[in-house]
């Protein structure tokens, strides 16, 4: 049984590490400080934490002003608010001027659970990746979220968005697992089909691959944590070498991660594809496990997708 840990813990740990290593890193909160784990930074560096209150649009632009004055600000609130409500601010103040503002999009996905649709960010990957100059990372577990947060804070120049969920999810990487923004990682070799996933669905893809192995299907699993800039080489290689791709995200299947992968496939090496994710619906209240099931974000859905795409490949 793998260790379970919320990926937002990784964000909190990443902030603290950055705070320890760079005096210019500052953090802003919109009244969700504990929920987003920004309170760990706040405890250690109270003079570098700015409470903004429930005012996301203001928060994004205050962060812009801080970044224009030599600070490296991290803002974090739920993905629906930071990517949705404050989208114009992210677009026109931050991305247009390529400002060094780092955004944590918390409570991503259907697994947010009982809060229901208003708080389940199912569109944020699409909203953020469509912006020029934005870097978008969807890490697969808590360890990777910490690495992604640190990388966005000190390697990525310009705007960055790191997306993570609410619930404890399996740890599927190790401290020693390499992580580079923009470079996909093959977690499992395979020849018959490639499953390219991000976030929680990477772990599910690994489970699906185990299941498929029993049926004699060799499944490559790729952790494509960086949606933008996307690792075209890894996708093209997968398409060329396996000839069938299933893309998987805990997000609407339109315009987000699956769309990003498909754009590369269609442009450079068209092969049959299936998308696993939320099928153009709003979420609802429920327990995370039952919601993931109901909304098609499980290993079983990936297995079904693989079977469909293999049938198309066979034709």
């Amino acid at each position: 049984m793998p260790e379970m840990k919320p990926s937002r813990d990784g964000y909190g740990e990443g902030l603290v590490w950055l705070g320890e290593h760079n005096p210019n890193v500052v953090v802003l909160g919109a009244d969700l400080t504990s929920s987003t784990r920004a309170d760990w930074f706040q405890e250690k560096f109270p003079e570098r934490f700015y409470s903004i209150g429930i005012a996301e649009q203001n928060m994004l632009c205050v962060a812009a002003g801080l970044s224009l004055s030599g600070k490296i600000p991290f803002v974090c609130t739920y993905g629906v608010f930071v990517a949705g409500r404050a989208w114009d601010q992210v677009r026109t103040t931050i991305c247009y001027a390529n400002l060094n503002v780092k955004i944590g999009g918390a409570h991503g996905g259907i697994s947010v659970g009982p809060d229901g649709a208003t708080h389940q960010a199912l569109e944020d990957i699409a909203l953020m990746r469509v912006l020029p100059n934005m870097t978008v990372v969807v890490p697969c577990d808590s360890i990777e979220t910490r690495k992604a947060t640190i990388a966005i804070g000190q390697q990525v120049e310009g705007p960055g968005y790191v997306r993570f969920g609410r619930e404890p999810i399996p740890i599927v990487t190790e401290e020693s697992t390499p992580f580079t923004v923009g470079k996909a990682a093959t977690f499992r070799p395979g020849n018959d089909v490639s499953v390219i996933a991000c976030g929680y669905l990477v772990g599910e893809a690994m489970n699906a691959a185990e299941q498929l192995e029993q049926e004699g299907i060799s499944t490559r699993v790729i952790n494509l944590h960086t949606v933008k800039p996307i690792d075209r080489e890894a996708i093209v290689k997968a398409a060329q070498e396996t000839g069938a791709i299933v893309a998987a995200e805990e997000h609407q299947v339109m315009a987000g991660f699956c769309g990003a992968v498909a754009e590369v496939v269609v442009n450079e090496c068209p092969v049959p594809m299936r998308f696993v994710g939320i099928q153009d619906r709003f979420g609802e209240s429920g327990e995370p496990e039952e919601l993931l099931c109901e909304f098609n974000c499980t290993a079983n859905d990936i297995v079904a997708g693989v079977k469909q795409v293999l049938e198309m490949k066979g034709k």
Partner: protein, 278 residues
């Protein structure tokens, strides 16, 4: 911050020349925003020729005062001011809004040194100014932040979020200025969305309020000085202005918000400006 007041006659002549350049560049561009550009000239001149510490030769000078043009559409005025101040050659003013120009239709900081931010989507500049002021406080730096907003712009809720934050953080290094020309695209501000009692609103948000004639250079310079002296809270200068100031057929006419003058209208306007005593 200059302690000595510049010669008023010189400044008035400068205001006239800037108004002329605004209109010439707008006619050349065949689009743009004259009304709110003309109403803001004295506000900008009092900042750039008196109050603000800045160096055209070193636009990124670390301890410069910052000016944020939140009402970004009046960039023809800011561009003319920056040109006259020496940030770039005046000849470039006629490239306004042309493809490839550093003088974009709404200001873009990546294209023109001297701009502190890009703007154009209203309601965001005061928040950006709050962020800058917070950084200055954190670094114990003495530079100040000036943010010019339109009165119609303050319909935007985000302005009031920023106002709350400025009060919360006691940002006495932040001076807001509202170009209170009482007009917006759809008409009188009080018909579109009531702002009055306007000064009371700012006071209720914890700001010091200074109301001045926005075309009186001395009064503006006094207000900027007073704002600097006020401790523990931010200050807003409510500058009562005339939209389209200086051109008789543009003054107080909502339609001149976003319509550039044609050749004949330009000639008439320039003649009027030249005829006005300075």
């Amino acid at each position: 911050m200059a302690a000595q007041r510049p010669d008023i006659k010189e400044l008035k002549r400068l205001c006239r020349d800037i108004r002329k350049d605004i209109l010439i560049s707008l006619e050349c561009a065949k689009s743009g925003h004259p009304g709110g550009s003309l109403s803001a000239v004295e506000i900008l001149v009092a900042l750039y020729w008196y109050k603000m510490a800045c160096d055209p030769g070193e636009p990124c000078m670390l301890d410069r005062d910052r000016f944020v043009l939140s009402k970004g559409h009046i960039c023809p005025a800011l561009y003319a001011v920056l040109a006259h101040r020496g940030y770039f050659p005046r000849e470039q003013l006629n490239s306004l809004r042309k493809m490839g120009s550093c003088l974009q239709g709404h200001p873009h900081m990546l294209k023109l040194a001297g701009l502190e931010t890009s703007s154009g989507s209203l309601g965001q500049g005061l928040s950006i100014s709050v962020g800058m002021a917070l950084a200055a406080k954190a670094d114990k730096a003495a530079w100040r932040v000036y943010c010019l907003m339109g009165d119609g712009e303050t319909d935007e809720g985000q302005i009031w979020e920023a106002a709350m934050a400025a009060h919360h953080y006691k940002l006495d290094n932040l001076c807001g200025i509202v170009d209170r020309n009482r007009l917006q695209i759809d008409g009188d501000t009080e018909d579109v969305m009531t702002l009055e009692p306007y000064a009371d609103k700012w006071r209720a948000f914890g700001w010091e309020v200074l109301e001045v004639d926005g075309h009186d250079l001395d009064a503006l310079m006094d207000a900027y000085d007073k704002a600097e002296a006020i401790k523990g809270k931010p200050t807003v200068v409510l500058a009562n202005t005339v939209k389209g100031k200086g051109v008789s057929f543009m003054e107080n006419v909502a339609g001149w918000h976003g319509k550039s003058p044609g050749k004949e209208e330009l000639e008439k306007a320039l003649a009027e400006l030249d005829a006005q005593p300075v």
